[in-house]
Symmetry: C2
Subunit: 222 residues, 2 copies
């Protein structure tokens, strides 16, 4: 099955980055197909991709001809079809904690700074790049502040977000911190998050998933 | 265990509404504690609640003294600890579909129209009520358009979002449609969604969860 996996993504998409980490943690090989989110008015809006995902968003995973969307749903699917190593702990309370940490990022932070939202802030409110930066730093800062409290104040936190093995929560956290750095958010208030991200970045699964290592990343980034 | 369940929510919170539906579908009794999102500058920001949930958001479920946050994580937890009737199908591909439908709402629609986001549109961009309406209808419309395509074009859709029994996807869809109606979004382009919501609303579990039926709902709504 692994050989048939195809991931439609974009090098800098935070949600695609999560799925790349999960695939790498599972040791699953996949074919990478780039959907450029800006070129041609956004290749995600072209009919061929729209037929795969009516949401016109990446990532989109094809497994043996079946189409899967939404990064957390994809990671849960990979965890159910390829259980080892697990992306979620075994106990229901632990699973709920990892899912909640993931959802702080995937529901309450990332959607607010998504490309389409920033574009819409410009079209509806005339937001320029500076205003988009203020907006993004506000929401990322608020989210990381919550995450820092949830992680620093909990004995279940270990070398990673939950215990000493990487989970779905780490696969969500690392791309969000990549975004925070891109928006020049000061990180010194988030020592636990920084420590965990450092631990993740020491792993090959995370290293191979970074945006700059993707085939569609431009040779030089601005 | 059921008798020890306490749900911190707010009558009109879409995310709390999801969890109420899930608890009712499972037949689990719970004590309802209201966190007024506007009174006192937002009771979710008071120290007592902040200690429960550093995100300062509802819902928050207490099960036998343990704290659970994030509505989808809570629903998955309830499904793992009280498996019947299930909120997710048995097969991994079906589970991925229900989760993806849920996440279209919970990640890509609802977070953009949340109270705190609308308040921030005013503070950063001076958005008035009309502009907030335009913003909300844009994102809800886009989300429902995707959901309609995902539901109408798939043989797995039945009387409900997935087959003929309500799932987590229906628990996410119904509160979002409640919001759409509140923002006066025309619904005639979404016949499959409307049909499914009607089917849900015929069930007592959904009826008891509606905002207006909650103890903290005001006697007359504006």
């Amino acid at each position: 099955m692994g050989q048939d996996l195809v991931l439609y993504g974009y090098w800098r998409s935070s949600a695609a980055y999560r799925v790349r980490i999960a695939l790498n943690l599972k040791g699953l090989p996949y074919e990478s197909k780039a959907v450029h989110l800006v070129n041609q008015g956004g290749e995600q809006h072209l009919p061929d991709f729209q037929a795969l995902n009516p949401q016109e968003l990446v990532p989109c995973l094809i497994d043996d001809g079946r189409v899967f969307t939404q990064s957390m749903a994809i990671m849960e699917y990979l965890d159910e079809t390829h259980p080892a190593p697990p992306l979620l702990p075994a106990d229901p309370a632990g699973r709920a904690r990892v899912r909640a940490l993931s959802q702080v990022v995937a529901c309450d932070v990332h959607p607010l700074g998504n490309l389409r939202v920033l574009q819409h802030l410009t079209s509806q409110f005339g937001a320029d790049d500076a205003a988009k930066g203020v907006w993004s730093r506000h929401w990322i800062g608020l989210g990381l502040q919550s995450l820092e409290a949830m992680l620093a104040g909990n004995v279940a936190t270990g070398r990673f977000c939950h215990g000493d093995a990487p989970s779905m929560a780490d696969a969500c956290l690392v791309p969000q911190v990549y975004n925070a750095v891109r928006w020049k958010l000061p990180m010194e208030d988030f020592p636990t998050i920084c420590r965990i991200v450092d631990a993740c970045q020491s792993l090959e699964a995370f290293q191979r998933a970074v945006p700059e290592a993707q085939p569609d990343a431009p040779a030089t980034q601005g």
